[in-house]
């Protein structure tokens, strides 16, 4: 390495430029963290950490703020959207890599990538004007009629179906994150050595058996990576959800109720937050999301590393 550097000054410049680019990311993150902490210091002083995280109060008039309703909404919509998106995304990936005839692979692949390129505000408007009436008039009454009467599960479908609720928001979110999971899952399915697959077919395995026993184990990690990426996207998604979630600071068990997520609250209330504690509490909320995303990604990374080690053994 040192020898190369001595030989050519261009190399030295090149490597220092790349290093600078990489370090700038760390500087940016540190800078953002610093701003979040310093801006929210007023709210941190006033509400503390435990009280802010456990209080369900969000009252701009009385200047009393707590994050729990927002955290709850964020987690619930993210979880539901992953639940809806993962099976569909894996289904798409399996179809495209293993089942679809050659002439279909290209168009479906492009369609998935286009889905990822649509700006989220378009999803929001589409959700408000198109999806939400469909949910309110057809899907939600149907769910209420069929599973709404069951004990425990029925609790999830209480209330009037209005189409502006956790369920609609989760459906939109799931459509938005399908492309991420699907395209990464597709790429990792493609990495399965064809020799192994062909041998399996040669000894008489069916398509289902090959996918279940050969492709899936080989690409577990890649699929998991795609899910983590989607999770990150779902946690931070704002505009698409803002239009159909209602921004209601209450904790509810029914999926047909309005709720609030951290990002939706920020988008809705930032522009008109006029007193210091209010503004500071919004920054505090952003800090909470920052920490939440960090923890989620860290946990995912640890899992990935563990799995990788196991895999290489």
């Amino acid at each position: 390495m040192a020898k190369i550097l001595k030989k050519s000054p261009a190399d030295l410049i090149f490597s220092s430029v790349t290093a600078l680019a990489s370090f700038s990311i760390i500087v940016f993150i540190a800078g953002i963290l610093y701003v979040l902490i310093s801006e929210s210091s007023l709210a941190i002083k006033q509400f503390g950490v435990i009280k802010f995280l456990t209080s369900t109060d969000w009252d701009p008039v009385k200047e009393s703020f707590g994050a729990l309703t927002n955290i709850y909404g964020t987690m619930l919509t993210t979880f539901l959207s992953l639940l809806l998106a993962i099976p569909v995304a894996i289904g798409i990936a399996v179809f495209v890599t293993e089942i679809a005839p050659g002439f279909l692979k290209g168009p479906i692949g492009i369609a998935i990538e286009l889905l990822a390129a649509i700006p989220s505000i378009i999803y929001g408007m589409w959700g408000l004007f198109t999806l939400s009436p469909i949910m309110a008039n057809h899907i939600e009454p149907f769910l209420k009629k069929t599973v709404g009467g069951l004990p425990l599960i029925g609790m999830l479908f209480e209330g009037t179906p209005m189409g502006i609720d956790i369920l609609t928001a989760s459906v939109i979110l799931s459509i938005m994150i399908i492309p991420f999971t699907a395209s990464i899952a597709r790429d990792s399915f493609n990495l399965t050595p064809s020799v192994v697959k062909e041998s399996a077919y040669a000894i008489g395995a069916t398509k289902w058996e090959v996918i279940k026993n050969i492709v899936m184990p080989y690409s577990k990690l890649g699929v998991f990576g795609g899910v983590v990426l989607s999770l990150g996207r779902a946690l931070g998604e704002t505009m698409a959800v803002a239009f159909v979630l209602g921004n209601n600071h209450r904790i509810t068990t029914s999926l047909l109720d309005a709720a609030a997520t951290i990002t939706v609250t920020l988008a809705n209330e930032f522009a008109e937050a006029d007193n210091d504690v209010y503004l500071s509490s919004l920054f505090y909320l952003a800090l909470v999301l920052f920490v939440m995303s960090f923890i989620t990604l860290a946990v995912a990374k640890i899992f990935l590393l563990k799995a990788e080690r196991k895999h290489s053994q």
Partner: protein, 336 residues
């Protein structure tokens, strides 16, 4: 070499050009509500004088912050700053245009403008105490209207807004229970209902949900043909929302130049006043005399020539007497 000289020349020209442009530009920031009318005025004004208005509708809170930090030539805010605050931040304040807030309903069998509500029943509905449309309190004022026994769904603004500020200010003023339990502000903790993002969100939900009641800016109610209702004003008359009832509210409102015109037009006196209205305000930094004169010149032109444009966009121009008061205020502060 030649290209380098060329580039430098081009840059120099660009810079001098933007300099020349900058001298003819007014920078403003603030409320989103008056943005359409300010830009319509600015378009006409630009054709006549060449002056450009760069108005960023970032919200009233942002407008106040920016003018306090002196980063813009003028700020715009939907809720008036208090005189003490104006004094402290060395700001001047005057109203520019009036807007009204209108409760809208979607109730089968009830024609637009047919339903009459007084403040206590409106308050009861929004507090969640009145749960059905055929409640005795509503029936009392509507003996001839056939009210269905359907549930009430309240739709409110989920984002912070001047519209909510005016509406909740009215409720706090007329209904002690609301003042005590909820209060007034740009974002409040609504006891019941669902939130729609922006006027368009609220209008959309009300249109779609049977038995719903919401509140939007007058322009939205008009453009979306939502069912409005009659409200009882402070003189005990039921009034319909419209240009005349807004103008009445503005004309009877006691705007005081000494207080920077700080006034809510809620529950205004006057026989025909619509009870939920408000002015939107312009804020100027006292120490920026040069740019202030230009801003004042623009609004002076708008007061004289902009009424039709404002009405076209469903804003209520200031009544004549108030315009004169504002002009006197400009003169008193040496801006004209």
């Amino acid at each position: 070499m030649k290209t380098a000289v060329g580039i430098i020349l081009a840059l120099a020209i660009c810079i001098s050009f933007t300099r020349a442009q900058a001298a003819e530009t007014l920078n403003g920031a603030g409320a989103t509500f008056p943005y359409p009318v300010y830009s319509a005025w600015a378009y006409e004004y630009n054709k006549i004088t060449g002056m450009k208005l760069n108005y960023q509708s970032i919200g009233s809170g942002g407008g106040v912050r920016q003018v306090t930090e002196r980063t813009v030539d003028f700020g715009a805010s939907d809720d008036p700053m208090k005189p003490e605050q104006l004094q402290k931040d060395k700001l001047l304040q005057f109203p520019a245009v009036i807007g009204g807030v209108v409760p809208v309903i979607n109730l089968a069998g009830v024609k637009p403008g047919e339903l009459r509500l007084d403040s206590s029943s409106l308050c009861g509905i929004l507090l969640g105490e009145i749960k059905f449309w055929d409640d005795e309190k509503i029936k009392k004022n509507n003996p001839s209207v056939k009210l269905p026994h359907s549930g009430v769904t309240v739709v409110y603004r989920s984002d912070g807004s001047g519209t909510t500020a005016i509406f909740t200010h009215y409720l706090s003023e007329t209904c002690p229970a609301w003042k005590e339990k909820v209060g007034a502000g740009k974002a409040v903790k609504f006891p019941v209902g669902i939130g729609g993002k922006g006027n368009e969100g609220v209008a959309n939900y009300v249109k779609r949900t049977a038995g719903s009641i919401g509140y939007v800016e007058f322009a939205y109610a008009k453009q979306n043909k939502l069912g409005h209702l009659q409200l009882k004003n402070s003189s005990g008359n039921f009034v319909e929302p419209g240009f005349t009832s807004f103008e009445d509210a503005a004309a009877t409102g006691d705007f005081d130049p000494k207080k920077g015109f700080a006034l809510w037009l809620t529950n205004a006196p006057g026989n025909n006043s619509w009870p939920i209205a408000g002015a939107t305000f312009i804020l100027l930094a006292k120490d920026k005399a040069e740019s202030n004169k230009k801003v004042v010149k623009f609004f002076d032109w708008a007061f004289k020539n902009g009424d039709n444009k404002a009405k076209e966009l469903v804003y209520v121009p200031l009544p004549k007497a108030l315009k004169e008061k504002v002009t006197a205020y400009w003169k008193a502060n040496g801006l004209q």
